[in-house]
């Protein structure tokens, strides 16, 4: 699967993933090829159990495939150690999760500062404040996650994802835990920021409506990606 324009930023070469199950090996996918170009927005649709989360994990370097390669900005992630992949993730990737995954002991501001500090950035606080301003939470920097609503938590997570100005943003069912209205507002925010920052967006969802907002929609069926 290749796009028509721009340079490749995230690519898989003959990606394969096999799980060892109690009744023998389970082949989730094999020889899966995907090429995503800079600035593109891509949705990956799939029924639950189709392996779309596994694919996202492989694209993010959170997991290692049993076959093939994943290239992020030209670097073969399968050839790196876990720590090297972590550093690469911190530099090149942003994440938005269904369960928000904010750290409960840190304030909104500190949560947004975290990836910058992990990467050793010096002006973390100013940048985090700016990012929170962008998602409309400039007034709630000192709040802890449990003091924020679901929508607000996801906005903090979006600020955290964009604050490092990553090349690629990976989102896993970003509105799955939110009510319909809030979900819409979060979608708007996500695409708006993506537009502003010119980030490449890869979105995994089972929501066709959300998928349609992307330039390219792919469906994971029987271990292969097909255009939807």
């Amino acid at each position: 699967m290749t796009a028509e324009n721009g340079s490749s930023v995230l690519r898989t070469d003959n990606l394969g993933m096999v799980f060892r199950g109690p009744g023998g090996d389970i082949r989730l996918f094999s020889d899966l090829n995907l090429d995503i170009h800079a600035g593109e927005t891509v949705a990956i649709l799939g029924a639950s159990g189709s392996g779309k989360s596994t694919l996202l994990g492989l694209l993010a370097g959170l997991d290692v495939p049993t076959g093939g390669r994943v290239l992020l900005a030209g670097t073969d992630m399968t050839a790196l150690t876990e720590d090297q992949r972590a550093v690469l993730r911190g530099r090149e990737l942003g994440f938005v999760f269904q369960a928000f995954h904010l750290l409960s002991g840190l304030t909104a501001l500190e949560n947004v500062m975290l990836p910058l500090e992990l990467a050793g950035e010096t002006n973390a606080e100013a940048r985090a404040r700016a990012a929170l301003d962008q998602v409309g939470l400039g007034e709630r920097t000192g709040h802890y996650p449990q003091q924020l609503s679901g929508g607000e938590q996801q906005r903090v997570a979006i600020a955290r994802a964009f604050v490092t100005e990553p090349r690629v943003l990976l989102a896993d069912e970003p509105t799955g835990n939110l009510d319909r209205n809030t979900g819409h507002r979060i979608q708007d925010l996500l695409f708006e920021l993506n537009n502003v920052h010119g980030t490449t967006l890869v979105l995994v969802t089972h929501d066709p409506e959300l998928a349609r907002r992307c330039q390219r929609v792919l469906s994971l069926e029987d271990g292969q990606l097909v255009a939807a």
């Binding site: 989360s53 596994t54 996202l56 994990g57 993010a60 959170l62 997991d63 876990e82 720590d83 972590a86 550093v87 993730r89 911190g90 530099r91 994440f95 999760f97 995954h101 750290l103 409960s104 002991g105 840190l106 500190e110 975290l114 990836p115 500090e117 992990l118 990467a119 050793g120 955290r160 896993d172």
Partner: protein, 828 residues
Amino acid sequence: MNSLRYGFRLLLRDWRAGELRLLAIALVLAVTAITAVAWLADRVTLATEDRAAELLGADRALVGNDPLPDRFASLARDLDLAVARTLQFPSVVLTEERTQLAAVRAVDPAYPLRGSLQVADHADGDARNTTETPARGEVWAEARMLIQLDIDVGDRIELGAEEFVVSRVLMLEPSLGGGFQNLAPRLLMHLDDVPATGLVQEASRVTYRLLVAGDNAAVNQWQARVQPDLGESVSLETPGEGQPAVEQVLDAAKRFLGLSALLTVVVGGVAMLLTIRHYASRHLDRVAVMRCLGATERQIGAMLTWKMVLLGLITAVLGSLLGYLVHLFMLSLLADLLPSLPAASWRPAGVGLLAAQVILLGFALPTILRLRRVPPLRVLRRDLGDQLFRGWSVYPLALAAIFLLMWWQAGDVVLAIYVFAAVLGTLAVLALGAGVIILLLRRSRRAGATGLLLSGLVRRPWTNTFQIMALGLGLMALLLLSVVRQDLLATWQDRLPDDAPNYFLINIQPDEADSLQALLDEQGLETRVYPMVRARLVGINDRDVRPSDYPEPRTRRLVAREFNLSWLEELPEDNRLVAGNWWANGGQPEPQFSMEVELAERLGVDVGDELHFDAGGQRYTAQVTSLREVQWDSFNVNFFVAASPGVLDDAPATYITSFHLPRDQQRLLVRIVRDYPSVTLIDVSAILDTVRTIMAQGARVVELMALLTLFSGLVVLLAALQVTREERQFESALLRSLGGRRALIRRLALTEFLLLGGAAGLLAGGGAAVAGYVMGNLLFELEYAFNPWLPLLGAVGGALVVAAAGLLATRRLYRVSPMQLLKGAEEG
């Protein structure tokens, strides 16, 4: 990333969420126990070390049981050294109404050469330093003597043949001296007043001291010149070694307390091991997110380590503060036994700080650091990483930490190994017992209808075994120290007959022996006055005997001292021959010795060996023809070595006797002391009372340590409740949504806690009874019977304590609505 800052932030968060509380409490208790003992030991050691010279009252001292030759003093004066003489002996002080044994020290005006005396003008007056010493005709007495004699400053007392005015209260005096005299209140008098009292005669039990102080080089020169000239009867004391006996006792007490403090650490460690896994598993998600956002293993490791280090610091500060308070409480319990102590140092707080880190390093950090390996993919798949804490590999480090602490407290690797093995053995036996109880409950559950009531204990066998073991250890320590100690003491006292001698008379001069015997006979007291010769063992067969010949310290000390020898015609009633034959009665048998069997074993002497004794420069030689077993605690006069009549006839002897005097005949004592001024009266019951007080006060300190261990045991219970909290919540909610009433659920919990505490107490009581039996029969040679009430007492006590603590800790669990509970359980 600033891992210190993140560590601190996350620590705060954990604290607010209550996730760290039990871990912290277990740690604080452990540090409290360790620092309390450290502070106590530190201050007592400081008192003995820092003021060693002051305690000796000089830079060097010569000590002997005979007057010290003048040449030592003149040499010191030639070297421009200051010189003082003292004389120390026990004697009875009389008033119209009362008698009191005193440790008398007669001093010349130069005393002390180092340090100073502290006196007060009244028994409850303020202490002040003084450079004076008692004037002629005056004495200074310790406050407790004034209390015991019911007199005050200005009153008169009799000492031997003289009367004295008590002119000051003696608050602090250097050179306390060793032996039982330490226990008697001190009395200070002028050296020149001694002859008039008639208390010091030839062969009296007197310690002569020559104190020397001055320029360091001159002191060393003096020491170098007198040392070769000292002979066997004079010894040299230097600062710090003046009180070997006291130091040894203190050292042993320090080690014992230190090791008992570690019981709290062991039990606290169990609590930590229980909670830490649970605690760590709650952090899987957080660490996974950080990994996902780019954190490296090193960053995670540094952050988690900092978190633990900070936790260690905070708990150490808290624990040290509490330890300081506990040590103050201990000091108040020991107030009568200890001299005034120097101010506390900071060192024990450092010990607490270090101990907290070692404990965390051993018990928490290995588990916590496994979090570094959380797969970042957990952010997408919640089931990943749950297996991270499986396995037993964290336990060796915990054991290593405990052993390290034991080694440090014991200061001796062999002792540390013994204690380590004993504690592990006890824990293993307790765990085994707990396992058996749970197994039996499981059986009975299957058999009967009480299934639901017993279900709690049976369903969590591992956690419950842990709990029973830890609670049992705490309870066992407490029972041992309270009930078993009382039992042992009572058994020992029961062994003494009611008419056991309660008074000893020593220093009876040869010309007084017959008349004193007549006086005692006249009073209807059944007793004998025995001759006593103080002699040094100088040879066995053809070889010379030196203390250095014996590796065992106690034997060494025995050989270094003078033996008390006597001559007997008949074998005393409380002696039993175990080898050889007693000499024929009547007439003048061949010169022979009979030796006490244990001493003979120590010295390697057997029947047929020839012993050479030196008494007053004269040599006495005879063959050992029998070995005797002696019942020392009959309080009758007994001798290690007895000679056949005639052997020691020309040796310098004093006489000794013991008798039982009923309380209503005490006037006789006054008569004896007045008519025989040189005779020293020793009140055994007063000494026994003092020993009993020391034991009781010491035991209370140890009980305090055991209480800390029990608290730790309760923390284990709370830890187990925390770990099983979600499960309990869910079960409770389920039962209630199925129609179970709150009362039923409460009853289920109560039954579980009662059984848990009862099982722990039963095992603890059984363990304490067995330990008491073993200690009584093997260690103290007492016929101490197994106390069957102990397991019952333990079971009831344990059940009540655990039920109360358990219900208190879970009260909220059963109050909230099933809906809330089910929701809470889902969220975990």
